[in-house]
C-alpha cells in the first residue's frame, strides 16, 4: 500500500530529474556582428518592378542566397487576405528577376499542419550561418490578421525545395495572434532572435529567442510598447540592440527601444521624431556600423517612401532621402532592406499594391544619405 501511495511521488521525482537541465536559467545571449566580406563595389543604380504573380502583391522580404544571388519573397493573390493568396519568390540574377514561383499556399499549410487555414501573409526570409534559408510567414484559420500564428519552413538548396511548414507556438491562449514582419538577428550560440508582435486585444511587440535547433527558448516584451507592432531590430554590438516600432496610434511617431543584454530585457519604448502613418519599416545595420532605415515618413499616408541614416546608433537620424513620392492614394510601403556581400544595398517594397519594386543603392549613394 505504501508503494502504491508513493508511486506518484516517484514519478514526479523521476520527471524532475529528467527535466533538470531544462529548468535552469538560460545563459545570456550575444549577437553575431557581421563584417564586410569583400571590399565595397561601386554598384550601378538599378530599379525595376518584379514580375507580377497575381492581381495584388504585398510585404516583400529579401535574402542573399549562398550562391550570392538575391532572393525575394512576398505574398500575392486576388486581394490581401483572400484564400488564393500564396507566398511567391523570385531570384535576381544578372540584373533581372526570374518569374515568380509559389513557395507555399494555404492548401499546403493545411496539409502540413493538419488544420484549417484561411489565409497567409507576411513572409520573412533569412539565411543562417549554415547557408540554410529560413522562411517565416503568418497564417490565420479564423477571423482577421489578429488571429494569426507564425509558421516556419526551411531550404537547404537556396530555395529550390522547402521543408514542410511547422507552426510555432508563442501564445498560451489557443496560440492566437503572433505575427512576423522583419528578419531575425543571429546569436553567437548558433541560435537566432526573431522580432514578432501581437495584435489580439492589444498591439505590442515580442522578442522570440530560438536555440540552434530552432527550439523557442525564451520570449521577452518591450515595456511601454502597447499600440506598436512590427518591430525591426538591429544589433549595435555583441550585446546592444535597437528596436524600431511601427506606431498604430497617437502620437504617430516611430518608437524606439534599446536592449543591453541581447534582447533579454528591453528599456521602455519612447517616441522618436520620425513620423509614422501606422506603416511597416525596415532597419539595417550596415557593415560600416551605421544604421539605415526605410519607412514612410508621414503621419497620414504611405505615398512617400524614404531612407534615413543614423551614425550614432539611432539617437539621431538624417534628413530623409525620398525614394518614392506619389499621390495621396498611392502606396509605397512595407520596405525590406539588405546589404549584400559586395556592399550594395537593396530595397524592396510594395508598389501600389500591384507588385514589388526593387531598388539598388551603391555604397556611394548610401554614403550620400546625410
Amino acid at each position: 500500500m505504501t508503494w502504491k501511495r508513493n508511486l506518484p511521488l516517484i514519478a514526479f521525482a523521476a520527471a524532475l530529474a529528467w527535466c533538470g537541465p531544462r529548468l535552469r536559467p538560460l545563459p545570456p545571449a550575444a549577437f553575431v556582428i557581421e563584417r564586410p566580406t569583400s571590399s565595397p563595389a561601386t554598384g550601378t543604380p538599378h530599379a525595376e518592378l518584379l514580375p507580377r504573380a497575381a492581381a495584388t502583391a504585398h510585404a516583400a522580404t529579401l535574402a542573399q542566397r549562398a550562391d550570392g544571388k538575391l532572393i525575394a519573397a512576398w505574398f500575392a493573390g486576388s486581394r490581401e487576405g483572400a484564400s488564393d493568396v500564396a507566398i511567391f519568390s523570385s531570384v535576381y540574377d544578372q540584373g533581372a528577376w526570374s518569374a515568380p514561383q509559389a513557395i507555399v499556399d494555404r492548401r499546403r499549410v493545411e496539409h502540413d499542419t493538419q488544420r484549417l487555414i484561411r489565409k497567409l501573409g507576411n513572409p520573412v526570409l533569412w539565411r543562417d550561418a549554415h547557408n540554410v534559408l529560413h522562411l517565416w510567414f503568418v497564417s490565420a484559420s479564423y477571423g482577421g490578421w489578429s488571429g494569426s500564428a507564425i509558421n516556419h519552413m526551411q531550404s537547404s538548396d537556396d530555395g529550390r525545395h522547402w521543408s514542410a511548414a511547422a507552426r510555432i507556438v508563442t501564445s498560451p491562449f489557443w496560440n492566437l495572434s503572433t505575427l512576423v514582419r522583419n528578419p531575425p538577428v543571429a546569436l553567437a550560440d548558433g541560435g537566432m532572435a526573431l522580432p514578432a508582435y501581437h495584435e489580439f486585444l492589444y498591439k505590442r511587440p515580442e522578442w522570440l529567442r530560438f536555440d540552434g535547433n530552432l527550439r523557442l527558448i525564451d520570449q521577452a516584451r518591450i515595456p511601454d510598447s502597447t499600440r506598436t507592432l512590427q518591430p525591426a531590430v538591429a544589433a549595435l554590438d555583441a550585446h546592444r540592440a535597437l528596436a524600431l516600432l511601427r506606431d498604430s496610434g497617437p502620437p504617430h511617431r516611430l518608437r524606439a527601444a534599446y536592449s543591453d543584454d541581447a534582447g533579454g530585457r528591453w528599456q521602455p519604448a519612447v517616441a522618436t521624431s520620425i513620423p509614422n502613418p501606422d506603416s511597416a519599416l525596415a532597419l539595417l545595420r550596415l557593415a560600416d556600423g551605421t544604421l539605415l532605415l526605410a519607412c514612410n515618413p508621414s503621419e497620414t499616408n504611405r505615398s512617400r517612401l524614404a531612407l534615413l541614416r543614423s551614425r550614432d546608433q539611432g539617437r539621431s537620424w538624417s534628413a530623409p532621402l525620398i525614394v518614392e513620392q506619389g499621390d495621396a492614394g498611392e502606396e509605397f510601403s512595407y520596405p525590406a532592406l539588405l546589404e549584400d556581400s559586395a556592399g550594395t544595398v537593396h530595397l524592396a517594397y510594395t508598389w501600389k499594391r500591384q507588385t514589388i519594386k526593387h531598388v539598388e543603392f551603391s555604397p556611394a549613394q548610401i554614403e550620400a544619405v546625410q
Partner: protein
C-alpha cells in the same frame, strides 16, 4: 496530435448525454473524415483551438476509460485554483502589461516549484491526482514531442480552464447547498 480532437469531441459527446463512452469515441472518429476541400472537422477544430494540453489529454483519457479520479467528483478548491491560474496566465498573455507569466514556462524552475509544492501538499492529504498530472506533463514536455516548448502549454489550456471553472462552481454550489441543509 490531430487525434486529440477526437478525444475532445468524444468528451463533449459524453458531456452532452451520450451514455456509452465507446459509442462516443466511435462517433467522434467521424470528425477525422474530410468533408470540404480535404478539410476534416477535426482540422477545423484544431484551427480554432489548437492542441489541448497534456493535462486535458490525461483527464479525457481517464474519463473516457471510466476512471474519472475521485478528486474530480468533489472539492472546489483545486479546480478553482487551477482555473484562476489559467485565467491569470491568459490575462497576462493577452493584456497590455509589461509582465508576462507565460515567459516562466520556458525555463520553468519557478513554475515547477509552485505547482510541485501544491501537488505535493494535495498528495500528502490523500489526493495523488495532481502529482500524477504534473509528473506526466513534465515528462511529455521534456520529450520535445509537443508543438509548444513552453511548460504552461503542457499544463493548461483555455478549454481546461472552462471545464475546471465549471467543476469548481458545481462543487462549490453543492457544498453551499449541503451546508444549508445541515443548518436547517
Amino acid at each position: 496530435m490531430i487525434g486529440a480532437q477526437v478525444l475532445i469531441v468524444a468528451g463533449l459527446l459524453v458531456l452532452l448525454g451520450v451514455r456509452s463512452r465507446i459509442a462516443a469515441v466511435l462517433l467522434a472518429l467521424l470528425v477525422l473524415v474530410p468533408v470540404h476541400g480535404g478539410v476534416s472537422p477535426a482540422m477545423a477544430l484544431r484551427g480554432l483551438w489548437g492542441d489541448p494540453s497534456v493535462t486535458t489529454l490525461q483527464l479525457l483519457l481517464l474519463a473516457l476509460a471510466g476512471r474519472t479520479p475521485p478528486a474530480l467528483h468533489a472539492g472546489w478548491r483545486a479546480p478553482a485554483f487551477l482555473a484562476l491560474a489559467a485565467a491569470a496566465l491568459y490575462a497576462s498573455a493577452l493584456g497590455p502589461w509589461n509582465f508576462d507569466l507565460y515567459r516562466f514556462g520556458y525555463q520553468p524552475a519557478a513554475l515547477v516549484a509552485v505547482f510541485g509544492a501544491l501537488a505535493l501538499i494535495a498528495w500528502w492529504r490523500g489526493q495523488p491526482l495532481y502529482l500524477w498530472l504534473l509528473a506526466i506533463d513534465l515528462l511529455a514536455w521534456r520529450t520535445g514531442w509537443l508543438a509548444s516548448t513552453n511548460l504552461w502549454d503542457a499544463m493548461l489550456d483555455p478549454l481546461l480552464m472552462l471545464a475546471l471553472l465549471a467543476l469548481a462552481i458545481r462543487h462549490g454550489y453543492r457544498r453551499y447547498q449541503n451546508r444549508n441543509v445541515v443548518l436547517a
